[in-house]
Symmetry: C2
DNA sequence: CGCCGAGTTGAACTGAATCAAGAAACGTGG
DNA sequence: CCACGTTTCTTGATTCAGTTCAACTCGGCG
């Protein structure tokens, strides 16, 4: 739970009182490889903090899964589009490896906001940060070619190639596995 | 200033005390058509609330401007990527029409958060809302073809065609003006 | 050994980009 | 109110990158 304290301490002071509150509201959860964190059509009821492991966000379209984001250690995981307004999710999230997360429910998060000194402030600062990071990620999708996106993705997650099959990466880059294969070929010929 | 009060009242109760504080921290600003709200390379120092008019967000790449968002009446305007961490912006924002905004500086916004009862809470709720809307907007860029994006953009902003030249719309849809022209042709033939 | 999922490779196809030339709309000044 | 020039929009021909469909390779595993 130290990793979570540290992440929160980045935003507000975390003393014993805060640790106490955080510990009671977050609970540990284990996800096996392939298990869902959030399923399409269901309301996203939790925010998680990934201690260990890897997850992917994806949506299903015409029977085809499109992966658009990977989250790993020390990141918060949630579909805010579903979580914030508590409406059914259009997206799914699943573990790509055996994963350990600390989760907090929607209701408990709101309790935490109002119970903890600086709770609201913490909430604002965290969502601001998550927002900014999300925007930066998405920038690449506007301006870059698949080739550039592939290079940036590897730069941001150098371990990804070792951890997951290539077709997840292809999907996240926005091309078919065949095309990624050709892109890799082009790049390897300098 | 009523429009601003109303927008905030959507998130927290706005009594006389709040109106007082909000009025002192926000100041009215007029932008002529073509004037910048934010220039690339500068730090975004303000959040604005658009009372009247229309703005576009864009970035410059290889000497070419790419418009990626339009903001209009009753919307907040800011580049949060630059505003939140107070770092130089990669994006620009300019008025497409004569526009009236109420603006608040970074420092004053933080004062407002800490001064006003429920200030932090308001901040959290507003950024949550903005975040969710931004995500929903961006969804279309992942999953849809330019054709679908064009149709959705017109649906979301039915007045846009009348208010601005088509090449802004093309850019936001993610294609060149020539291609949008062809898309329009295809669509008009049902 | 044969199966199976993952990755690579080939050929034909598609939609947007590009280059380029007109046509239409707009505004400004005579 | 019209004429002219600029800006915006359309259209055509060509090119290019990713898609699709399909075959084939490779490595692990029963």
């Amino acid at each position: 739970m130290e990793a979570l304290f540290n992440s929160i301490a980045y935003f507000i002071p975390v003393g014993e009182a805060e640790k106490e509150i955080i510990s009671t509201f977050f609970t540990e959860k284990q996800l096996k490889k392939g298990e869902p964190f959030l399923e399409e059509g269901k309301v996203c009821r939790h925010v998680g903090f990934i201690v260990k492991g890897l997850m992917r966000y994806y949506l299903t379209q015409d029977g085809e899964e499109k992966t658009f984001y990977f989250a790993k250690e020390n990141e918060f995981v949630s579909n805010y589009e579903s979580f914030v307004p508590q409406v059914p999710s259009l997206k799914s999230i699943e573990a790509l490896e055996d994963t350990t997360v600390y989760v907090i429910s929607y209701d408990n998060l709101n309790r935490l906001y109002s119970t903890m000194a600086n709770g609201e402030r913490m909430g604002r600062l965290i969502i601001e940060r998550v927002f900014v990071e999300a925007l930066q990620n998405l920038n690449s999708f506007y301006s870059d070619t698949p080739e550039q996106r592939y290079e940036k993705l590897l730069l941001a997650h150098p371990d990804l190639q070792q951890r997951i099959p290539q077709y997840y990466i292809a999907s996240c880059v926005g091309v078919k596995p065949q095309s990624l294969s050709r892109i890799r070929k082009r790049l390897s010929l300098h």
